[in-house]
């Protein structure tokens, strides 16, 4: 039971990183990406590649993974950020589909469909993190650092520029914002931080394959952000916890027919999401539908 909970919390903190980094571009810059799992995957594969062939130290794997994630995001960002909202969603969907093909075919790096096995554990200055009880500490620290970085960014002039662009792109440009550049930087930062989650995930499981980095994962991360509360600090973490705990809770309900548990989960998810968006479109942590501010 303890091992089970530990595993759950580790996954929650890794998915929280994914949610927090997606929320940075979605909630503050209004960039809706369906390719977030790609950068999760790039981080995982790049980190694993370094760990397996060169050096497992996080001072090697993390920077390489972050640079790989950041550079790859430029491929998406440079052409796609010149188009508006819904076109970016379509472009990111295209990248997601393309990336899954590369992940399954580039055997030398990704191990193909079969994936990579025997990924070394995290190595922090010579200290290898094997035990889940130690690993949870690492993932939580990583989450806290990433939250801190994003919090600082959001409350800086850069964060205000992002929100201005989200609210009115033309007005932001009219007040001196280089909109394509600022959007590109935000996507690169988000993707580089996402790659950190990939490194942690790969070294925690010591096994990865393409199934963890497909469109379902991108959709799941987006659902975590929306359900928790887009554009809020705690929302993505609440969303990640909820969507990972819920399946386990449902499977503990004895009176449900065990064979139908999968479909029941889907029905509960679907209903929950629809009701939430009707009654609380800002998410669990977000503002209520009718704002109370401004009324005197």
């Amino acid at each position: 039971m303890e091992a089970y909970l530990l595993n759950l919390f580790i996954l929650i903190s890794i998915y929280s990183i994914l949610g927090v980094t997606l929320n940075f571009i979605m909630g503050y810059a209004g960039i809706y990406s369906l390719a977030h799992a790609v950068f999760f995957g790039v981080g995982a594969y790049a980190g694993s590649f370094m760990a397996m062939h060169f050096n497992a130290s996080i001072f090697v794997t993390l920077p390489v993974a972050m640079v790989a994630g950041g550079l790859l995001s430029l491929i998406l960002a440079l052409p796609a950020l010149r188009v508006r909202g819904e076109y970016f969603v379509a472009a990111s969907l295209g990248l997601q589909v393309l990336a899954v093909t590369i992940f399954s075919e580039w055997k030398g790096v990704t191990g193909g469909i079969g994936g990579l096995i025997g990924i070394p554990p995290l190595d922090i200055a010579g200290f290898e993190i094997f035990k889940p009880s130690q690993f949870i500490f690492v993932t939580v620290v990583a989450l806290v650092i990433i939250l801190f970085i994003i919090n600082r960014l959001v409350h800086s002039s850069f964060g205000r520029s992002l929100r201005a662009i989200r609210d009115s792109e033309s007005a932001a440009a009219a007040f001196g914002k280089n909109v394509p550049l600022i959007k590109t930087i935000s996507v690169v930062i988000s993707s580089a931080l996402t790659a950190v989650a990939g490194v942690l995930y790969a070294s925690y499981l010591s096994f990865i394959n393409v199934e963890s980095f497909m469109l379902d994962t991108s959709v799941l991360i987006m659902a975590m952000v929306i359900i928790g509360g887009t554009g809020t600090q705690a929302g993505p973490i609440v969303g990640a916890a909820l969507l990972l705990i819920l399946p386990s809770l449902i499977s503990y309900l004895d009176f449900l027919p065990q064979t139908e548990i999968g479909s029941i989960q889907q029905i509960i998810y679907g209903l929950g999401m629809a009701l939430l968006m009707i009654y609380r479109p800002g998410g669990i942590v977000g503002r209520k539908k009718h704002s109370e501010t401004g009324k005197e």
Binding site: R163, D167, A174
Partner: protein, 254 residues
């Protein structure tokens, strides 16, 4: 305002033979005019005369088909909107385009920040920016609303916030697109007072306005556009007393 000093000021912006067509319709048709430093030039003309299009062409929001524009003597023919802003040319929008989810003070603060990179700014620069924000809040009477989201403001307050974003910057030229439309008489008196004060301090203004009282009250010079053509660009009395222009303005086309 004193009309006699027009024409003697330095030319800040020189617009020459500018054309802009949408499909077959010439929205701006061979317009040439100068915007002179330290005065208020009002653009008047019926709906669809090309006034807003001219603003869009000046700031680079729309690419012109031909013609040239000089700013402080330098050509700015391929300028982008963010470059125009950094060069000191700011505009407001008829539909305001506030940063609606952001607070009043963040709307103004972000307007004075034009650094793209996520790097820390120095304390002195930060203090200077915050002082500009305070100044704009104070002048527009929005100080008590600073924490309120833009979208939760009343209509007149939203108009003043649109002005405050421009006032806080150090832009030399303000292009204001119907900033006073829909304001009650009290609010627009206040608006005119703010505008006169800023011009006295050296700002140059080009304003699109329909309300004749306001036009008469603030203009140092009036430029009259109709169907994309500049029909007059002169002292207010001359333009307003021209029977042909009056006929167009009041809808009695001949």
């Amino acid at each position: 305002m004193v009309a006699s000093h027009t024409g003697t000021q330095d030319v800040l912006m020189e617009i020459r033979n500018v054309d802009k067509a949408f499909g077959g319709v010439k929205a701006v048709d061979d317009v040439s005019m100068d915007l002179r430093a330290g005065i208020i030039t009002t653009l008047v003309g019926p709906n669809g005369a090309g006034k807003t299009t001219l603003f869009n062409v000046i700031t680079g929001e729309l690419a012109k088909d031909s013609g040239s524009i000089k700013w402080l003597g330098n050509p700015i023919n391929r300028i982008k909107p963010y470059q125009a802003a950094r060069a000191g040319i700011l505009r407001t929008f008829q539909d305001l385009r506030l940063f609606s989810e952001m607070s009043v003070e963040d709307n103004i603060l972000t307007a004075v920040e034009n650094n793209s990179l996520p790097l820390p700014v120095g304390r002195a620069q930060r203090t200077a920016r915050l002082e500009r924000v305070e100044y704009a809040l104070d002048r527009t009477g929005l100080s008590s609303k600073r924490k309120i989201r833009a979208k939760d403001l009343a209509y007149a307050e939203r108009k003043f916030l649109s002005m405050a974003r421009v006032m806080a910057t150090e832009a030399r030229l303000w292009l204001l697109d119907e900033p006073a439309s829909g304001l009650d008489p009290n609010s627009y008196e206040k608006f005119l007072e703010i505008l006169r004060e800023e011009v006295k301090q050296g700002v140059t203004v080009c304003i699109i306005e329909h309300n004749l009282d306001i036009v008469i009250g603030i203009s140092d010079r009036i430029a009259f556009l109709d169907r994309g053509k500049l029909l007059a660009d002169d002292e207010p009395q001359k333009v307003l007393n021209d029977p042909a222009l009056r006929a167009i303005y009041f809808g009695e086309r001949t």
